[in-house]
């Protein structure tokens, strides 16, 4: 169904206002992300990176403009739960894992509402834990994992329903250097092995340097669309 030549994400002249228009978080943003591209969105704190990511994830609606994901206009879709469950994976700065569930269960919760059988879900969860090098941590709860392990578990959760797009908001913001490296390596591997399109928001230049393209924002606008190095 998806046309491979068509970009994965297209943002057309999007604005986002808060507080009845007194705050303009995004002001005429246009952006295209190709299939399988690993893009960093950077800029100072408050420039609108998270706002943009939330719009891409359909967690919020633009005040103006259109966002087309995989050929479909988000504003016109009525099945946004389904969109979030199947077509995108979300990773937050704070992992937002459920502390009382173990690693496997955290992945299974994200699969509820998909039509996989219970045994299948378990198998899928364990496979993914292996893929993010957490196979030995399957029965551990998040509080007992290190920061890097938690973030890798959160990434595994985002991948659990095989989305075409991974959206990550400052996923390394709370990590030490070594953990940052392992998480970035994981993102690259996901892009290489699965062809997943990745949009990663960060204000850390060393993190954005690890991606294919750097999009720079300032005051709610894109000031540099970047050049692909992939």
């Amino acid at each position: 169904m998806s046309d491979l030549a068509q970009p994965m994400i297209e943002v057309f002249d999007v604005a986002k206002d808060y507080d009845h228009g007194t705050i303009r978080a995004l002001d005429g943003v246009s952006l295209t992300v190709d299939r399988g591209e690993f893009v960093a969105v950077t800029g100072r704190s408050g420039c609108g990176k998270s706002t943009l990511l939330h719009l891409l994830a359909a967690l919020d609606r633009p005040s103006r403009g259109r966002i087309v994901v995989d050929g479909r206009d988000l504003v016109q879709r009525g099945d946004l739960d389904e969109f979030r469950r199947r077509e995108i994976g979300l990773v937050f700065q704070l992992h937002h894992l459920l502390a009382h569930l173990d690693a496997t269960e955290n992945l299974e919760v994200a699969m509820m509402g998909t039509h996989r059988r219970r045994a299948e879900k378990r198998v899928r969860a364990l496979e993914l834990l292996d893929a993010v090098d957490l196979g030995a941590r399957a029965t551990m709860r998040p509080p007992r994992l290190s920061g890097g392990e938690r973030q890798r578990l959160a990434i595994a959760r985002a991948l659990v329903n095989e989305p075409g797009i991974l959206l990550a908001d400052e996923p390394t913001g709370a990590l030490d250097t070594r953990s940052i490296d392992s998480v970035l390596a994981l993102f690259r591997r996901i892009r290489d092995e699965r062809g997943t399109t990745i949009v990663l928001v960060t204000h850390d230049p060393t993190v954005s340097a690890a991606t294919d393209r750097i999009v720079e924002m300032r005051d709610g606008r894109i000031v540099d669309r970047g050049v692909s190095t992939a």
């Binding site: 979030r84 496997t104 509820m112």
Partner: protein, 372 residues
Amino acid sequence: MTMFSLVVKNLLTRRARSILTASAVAIGVMTVVALGVLTFSLRETAISILRTGKADFTVAQEGVSDLLYSALDVGDLQRISAHPEVESAIGVLVATVDLDDEHPLFLELGLEPEGLEEFGVRVVDGRRYAADAENEVMLGYRIAADLDKGVGDSIDIDDSAFEVVGLFATGQVFGDSAAMMPLRPLQARERKPGALTLAFVRVDPSADIESLRTAIEDESPQLATVRTESDFGRVDRNLALLNAANFGGSILALLIGAVGVMNTTLLSFFERTREFGVLRAIGWSRRRLLVLVVGEALIVSLFGAGAGVGLGFAAVAFLERLPDLLGVFRPEFTSAVFGRALGFAFGMTFLGALYPALRAVRLLPIEAVRHE
């Protein structure tokens, strides 16, 4: 991981809170069970008097606090009998006597021997008592077996010695557990000459019972006719009050339970805004989240209901031992009482979880993510 195991895990994680919620429900359910059993059992005891004889309806004095205080006289009985639709009207004086510890409310029925047949009494052994015999008594076959008495035996009732001249059957459990004796000697012993407690009326099968009842009540406004259990409140105010107390108490219990459920559900909702928002953000639908929130409340309430029924039994056992209720209150655990308790538990859950559930449904996933 199924929804059910997630619900259970969530509840176990907040164990203290789950137990508190269940306790609120348990106390509510206990109250409903105990009040229900108490009311039902006391009503059965009270109504039993009406079930001692066979009648289309019974006539008593209106508005007395207890059916046993009803007072009719011979004139009332004659006026009732005078209606052409009335086949028979049997006047009965009812007294209770403390026979022994197990029979603190033993029923004595005084009526003329000629009335026995119309009253539905069949002599199964011995003979009827004579109209003016001061020390003759007939026993219902159940109480006779219970007391191990037969024809020719002697029995002490209220410090007087009586001879059992016959055993009878009425086809009614309560009648068969009573004693019958001639009317005038009982009136004399009770110092109520000419007095009756009730009239048991049988009506010509072709007549309209309801219009006859209306005619009797219009003619003698001090009288009330009782046909169904719901009429009973008119001749036994205590029971009507008890019913009202049961109703009011149960509603209060419902509200208390509901507030308990609401309190904890809402508190955990506020605590878990982030958690719920994240679930929505990773693709949970509103409906799935609703199932989770309501499911948690429901499982807790079921546990509370189970514990509440157990506590209800304990409360009833306690009430049964209260000196004031000893022997009067024979608990009957009807399925209706349990059904109602379960219904109340669901009611508490529904009322208590409604608002938090609505909040959960309205929660925007962005709210949770923004909290960063």
